[in-house]
């Protein structure tokens, strides 16, 4: 099928990754079939974004365009955004409200559950033309997807065999989603960051708790560092999902001296925020956790950094291009003061985020760095070979977990 070499995995464990997996178009095509259309759940939108009958959003599962829509029965339905006639997009807008969907090309219409309901000139005109009598509309609907809603997150799957969403996530991940999405949320902003790298490099970066204090110097430069805090990494049974979290007993300010003792680049002195209110939030999580990064295979991230809440959806756009869709959240119950804290702390995240802008670039550094190294491998050995949970965040266990889940699905 292709001129590409088969991907060669050199070890039994998950500590080596051949760079070719970030480079070859045939790998991306297999990922679409085996991962995105395989037994996985893909996040598409929030329940709260389509609250009423007829509200819809369009999104993607890998590269497959999908429509996600609520019908008058209150249920959410999802179907491939592809007219069953010639394959054109059925729905062109990012979001909206509609009674039904009509393809613009030849006006074939679909109901909100993705059933083909109308074929223009089906019976012809003046007794001539039209579809053959045996044409059965029921046999011609775009592919329908399974839908599962967990804590207001809408996940869809092409697979009939995929586990229930709760089993897919596992109890630890479920609990960590529930602690953040425990009451109604509101979208307060949406942005898309176009990353110059393969999707896996970004998803690995999310799971990589090792890089956080080394690449992102904002907290340490301004003496806001939190490495001395307690924390841990949780990796799901499948390996595919993870949580990295840290906590303090009192909100911040108690910047330790450990960075200086370690002599890291981040120990520069003399920098302070002119407006320290950036991080003077309010306590809203009783467990004291001030940072929680959670990922769900293959492309969902839920983030709590102090009072800053956001969802990130990771979508491949090509071998070396990835769309990162940010949805910034507040709670519907926010006071104006609480909402202002969230707006202020949103400076930490997104394409211009003090602690996340580097993540937009670093995947590109890898993509460019490995240009001639397709037959060589990355080393992912920090913390050993384990893919299990760890009390230390100086580990790449969750990155190895990703490759465990990935190779299982790719049969590699």
């Amino acid at each position: 099928m292709s001129d590409y070499q088969p991907i060669h995995w050199s070890t039994e464990g998950y500590t080596r990754v051949p760079y070719a997996v970030y480079q070859q178009p045939d790998v991306l095509a297999q990922e679409q079939k085996k991962i995105y259309e395989g037994p996985t759940w893909s996040y598409v939108c929030l329940d709260a974004e389509i609250p009423q009958g007829g509200d819809y959003r369009t999104s993607h599962v890998g590269n497959a365009p999908v429509v996600v829509v609520r019908d008058d029965d209150g249920e959410i339905y999802a179907f491939e955004n592809r007219c069953s006639h010639r394959g054109a997009l059925i729905c062109l807008d990012r979001a909206g409200k509609t009674r039904d969907f009509q393809c613009v090309y030849h006006a074939w219409t679909y109901d909100r559950q993705g059933n083909l309901k109308g074929v223009a000139f089906e019976a012809g005109l003046n007794g001539a033309g039209g579809m053959p009598e045996h044409f059965c509309k029921e046999d011609h609907s775009p592919r329908k997807l399974r839908v599962a809603v967990f804590c207001g997150l809408v996940f869809v799957s092409f697979s009939e065999d995929v586990d229930s969403i709760e089993d897919y996530l596992g109890p630890e991940i479920c609990a960590r989603i529930e602690r953040v999405l425990n009451k109604p949320v509101e979208v307060i902003g949406r942005f898309t960051q176009v990353l110059p790298n393969n999707w896996k490099l970004y998803f690995e970066n999310v799971k990589d708790s090792y890089h956080a204090s080394l690449l992102h110097l904002f907290f340490t430069t301004f003496k806001l560092n939190r490495l001395s805090q307690r924390g841990a990494v949780i990796v799901s049974e499948s390996g595919g999902h993870h949580v990295s979290y840290s906590m303090v007993d009192a909100p911040d300010q108690a910047a330790g001296t450990q960075y200086q003792e370690q002599g890291l680049r981040s120990d520069q002195d003399g920098y302070r925020l002119a407006d320290p209110s950036l991080l003077q939030g309010f306590k809203e999580f009783e467990d004291g956790i001030t940072l929680q990064i959670l990922s769900v295979f293959p492309g969902f991230v839920l983030q709590q950094i102090q009072n800053c809440l956001a969802i990130r959806q990771v979508l491949p756009k090509g071998v070396a291009s990835t769309d990162l869709h940010w949805t910034y959240l507040g709670y519907a119950s926010d006071t104006p003061e609480q909402r202002e804290v969230r707006l202020k702390q949103a400076n930490l995240i997104g394409p211009a985020g003090f602690v996340s802008m580097e993540d937009g670039a670093v995947g590109g550094f890898v993509q460019r760095g490995i240009a001639a190294a397709g037959d060589l491998e990355a080393v992912i050995e920090m913390g050993g070979e384990s893919t299990s949970s760890s009390p230390s965040r100086v580990t790449e266990a969750s990155v190895r977990g990703f490759w465990k889940a990935y190779r299982q699905l790719m049969q590699a």
Partner: protein, 157 residues
């Protein structure tokens, strides 16, 4: 008081503002704002939907100083510069107390290796107090036309 027309004063302000950023004199950038000010970068889609969050969001000048010191001392990004090209300012409101102006812009980003691309375009939606000799912003909302930001937005717009 200045003898320049309001339009001329706005044009001078814009020219000085973009020159400051494009010449990498970012330390002077907050001086274009009042101490109590609003500065945010968002997109037309968010603006239309009434969503308040920004890519950058500041409600005082100190936050602008902090952004510059973060760019200088904390954040990691490849060396790059901008070339701002502004269109004609459209004065949407003018009273002795407040002037509101919309000005379209395009920003070309030049990477250190010479790669030169249209990075963003949009409008500045500005509010000035016209009373003093030197115009300063009480509010600038940078509304990008596209919701897609390539790689990262480090240098302010």
């Amino acid at each position: 008081m200045s003898t320049l027309s309001l339009r001329e004063r706005i044009a001078d302000f814009h020219a000085a503002y973009i020159r400051c950023i494009d010449q990498d004199a970012l330390e002077q950038w907050p001086d274009f704002f009042e101490a109590q000010c609003h500065y945010s970068v968002t997109t037309a889609e968010n603006d239309r939907a009434g969503l308040a969050a920004g890519l950058i969001w500041a409600n005082n000048r100190n936050m602008l100083h902090d952004r510059v010191s973060a760019l200088r001392h904390a954040n990691i990004y490849e060396r790059q510069s901008y070339r701002h090209i502004l269109g004609l300012p459209f004065i949407t409101q003018s009273t002795p107390e407040v002037v509101e102006v919309e000005t379209p812009f395009m920003v070309v980003r030049i990477m250190h290796d010479g790669q030169t691309d249209l990075f963003v375009c949009g409008i500045y939606r500005d509010v000035f107090k016209p009373g003093s000799d030197t115009l300063k912003l009480t509010s600038r909302r940078v509304i990008c036309d596209s919701n897609r930001i390539d790689t990262l937005l480090a240098v302010p717009l």
